[in-house]
Symmetry: C2
Subunit: 310 residues, 2 copies
C-alpha cells in the first residue's frame, strides 16, 4: 500500500520519484509542469536562508514524551514575553499541566488549582498585564507581505518567522492565529491575562486575532500536543485531575548549558527561499496536482523549521 499512498494527497512531493508518471494523468486533465516542492526548496536552500532560534527567547516545555520548543516573539508582546520568562525563571510552570484540549481548536495549559486557595503564587512576576493585542507597525522591521487575499486582515504575511496581519489605516500589526501559535488565556476583561494560562491553536482561530495577546509559536512538538485526548467536559476541559497531562518543567533555553539545548533553525521569511516556499504551495506543479490554486492562505503555509544535526 505504501508505494501507492506515499504519492497520495502529499504536501511535499519529491519530483524525482515521480517523473515516470508525467504521462499518466487522466485524459481529461491538463498536465501541470513539474516544479520544485517545499522539500526540494528546503534541500536546495543556503545556510543564509535560515536563522537559529535565540536561546533567550526560546522555551523548553518538558512533557512526559519529550520536549516542546516554543519560540517567543518579543517584538509583538514585549511585556508578556518578559513576564512569561519571569514566571519560567520562578519555575512557575513546573508540575502544572495541560488541562484542556478542545478538538479543532486549542490545547491549553496552566495551574489546575488556579482561582482556588491552592493557586500557585506568581512571586516576582505579574498575574495580569495590560493587553498587547497589537503593536505599532513601526515596531516590526521584518514584514514580508503576501499577495494572497486574506479576509481577516487588510495585509498579511510574515515577520521573522511568524505569520502576521497588519492594518496600515490603524497603524497596527499583530501575530495571526495559525496552527501552533501560542496565546495568553484571559477573562472577559482585555487586561485579565498575563501568561499563567497559555494555549496553542490546533484549528481555525483567526477570529481571535487582535482579541488576545499572542506570544509566539510552537516550533517543535505540535504532533504530540495535537494528539492529546480531547477533554470530555464543556470546552474540552479534562474533568478529572488524573486526565491532566503533567508539565515536568519549563525553562528558558539560555538558562541551560549548551549541550542540553535543542538546536532548531527557522527559515528566514524575508528570504527568496521562503518566497519560493510560498509559491510552491500557491501554485503546485504536476504530475499529482491537476489544478493549481493561484492562492495560499496565510495559515496554510507553515514556516519551515529544521533541527540542526550535531
Amino acid at each position: 500500500m505504501k508505494a501507492k499512498v506515499y504519492r497520495t494527497i502529499h504536501r511535499t512531493l519529491l519530483l524525482g520519484a515521480c517523473t515516470l508518471f508525467a504521462a499518466g494523468a487522466g485524459a481529461a486533465e491538463k498536465e501541470l509542469p513539474p516544479k520544485p516542492s517545499v522539500t526540494d526548496i528546503v534541500k536546495a536552500s543556503k545556510p543564509s536562508d535560515w536563522r537559529a532560534l535565540d536561546p533567550d527567547n526560546t522555551l523548553y516545555m518538558e512533557m512526559p514524551w519529550g520536549r516542546v520548543v516554543i519560540e517567543l516573539a518579543p517584538t509583538f508582546a514585549p511585556n508578556h514575553v518578559k513576564n512569561i520568562k519571569a514566571l519560567v525563571r520562578n519555575h512557575y510552570f513546573d508540575g502544572l499541566a495541560v488541562v484542556r484540549v478542545q478538538d479543532n481548536w486549542v490545547v491549553q495549559w496552566g495551574d489546575p488549582n488556579d482561582e482556588t486557595d491552592k493557586a500557585r503564587p506568581v512571586k516576582g512576576a505579574q498575574k495580569t498585564l495590560k493587553a498587547e493585542f497589537t503593536v505599532p507597525l513601526a515596531n516590526d522591521k521584518h514584514f514580508t507581505r503576501m499577495p494572497d487575499v486574506d479576509g481577516y486582515a487588510p495585509q498579511s504575511g510574515h515577520s521573522n518567522g511568524f505569520p502576521v496581519g497588519r492594518d496600515p489605516k490603524t497603524g497596527e500589526t499583530w501575530l495571526a492565529h495559525c496552527y501552533g501559535m501560542v496565546g495568553v488565556g484571559r477573562d472577559s476583561d482585555a487586561d485579565s491575562g498575563g501568561g499563567t494560562s497559555l494555549y496553542a491553536t490546533i484549528g481555525p482561530a483567526r477570529h481571535l486575532d487582535r482579541n488576545i495577546t499572542v506570544v509566539g509559536r510552537v516550533v517543535s512538538g505540535m504532533p504530540q500536543l495535537a494528539a492529546l485526548p480531547r477533554g470530555p467536559a464543556p470546552m474540552g476541559f479534562y474533568d478529572k485531575p488524573e486526565m491532566n497531562v503533567p508539565i515536568t518543567s519549563v525553562r528558558v533555553a539560555a538558562d541551560l548549558p549548551p549541550e542540553q539545548r535543542s538546536r532548531f533553525d527557522v527559515m528566514r521569511t524575508d528570504s527568496a527561499a521562503f518566497q519560493a516556499v510560498l509559491d510552491a504551495q500557491r501554485n503546485r506543479g504536476g504530475p499529482w496536482t491537476k489544478v493549481a490554486m493561484h492562492h495560499v492562505d496565510l495559515c496554510a503555509a507553515p514556516v519551515p523549521v529544521r533541527e540542526q544535526k550535531p
Copy 2:
C-alpha cells in the same frame, strides 16, 4: 481555574453567564454589544432548521473506541459514493485499519496490504473510477452563498450541509476540504482512486479542492480520529503493523435495524438559523470579543450537528 478559563478563548460564549462583565473591559477597548452565540442560535432553532441524516447515505465506521459517522454526498461524487457503498456491502473495510496520521493534515485508512499479493479483493466493486473532482453547477440545487472572500474559489458557501466552492465561469461546483471532509486517496493519475483508501482532513487542505474526489464528511467522531498518534514514517505513515488502528467494520446505516442506528441531525444550511450561525462567527458580540472580524472563512464555520436523544 475553570471559572476563569471557562470564559477564555471560547467559541460559543453563553451570554447569560457573562452579563456581569459588561463594564469590565479594558479602558482602551470599545465594548461590543452582546449578540447571540452559535450555542444560543442552536438552542433557539426550530425542528424545521434541521434534517436527519439519510440512512442510505450514512456510513458507520466502528472503531475500538466507538462509532465514526460519515455522511456521504452523492450529489458531488455519485459514482464514488455508489462504489464505496458497494465496497461496504462486501464488508471490504472490515478488519482494515487507519494506516496514516500526518499532523495538521490527514487521517487515512484502507488496506495495509494493498498492492501486495495479500490485497483484499474488491469483489463486485471497482478498484478505480473516473475522477469526480467537480460536478456541473446544475447538479446542485441547494447552494447558499457566503459573502466572505475566499482565495480558493470564485464563490463559496454551503450545499445541504457541506462546504462547497463554485466557479460560474467553468460551470463547476465541488466539495471543499474543510475539517473532517472525507476524500478518496489516489495516485498521480486522476482516475487512480476508487474509494478503497479514504482520508479525513485534520488541517488546512483547500489546495486539494478540485484535485481529488471528495465523498462526504465525518459528522461524529473527529475528536477521536484527530487524536490518534501521528505516524513516525514519512508522511505520517505508521511504520509497524501494530501501530495500525483497526477498523472493526463499516456499514451503511440503512442496513442496520433502526435500534442500532445513530440519530444525528445536521442544520439545514439554507435556513435562516444557519445564516445566523455564520453571522455569529463573522461578527461576534461582546463582552469577551473586542474586535469583530466582519469575516468568517468557509472552513472556520462548521455546520452544526446534534444527536437526537431517544
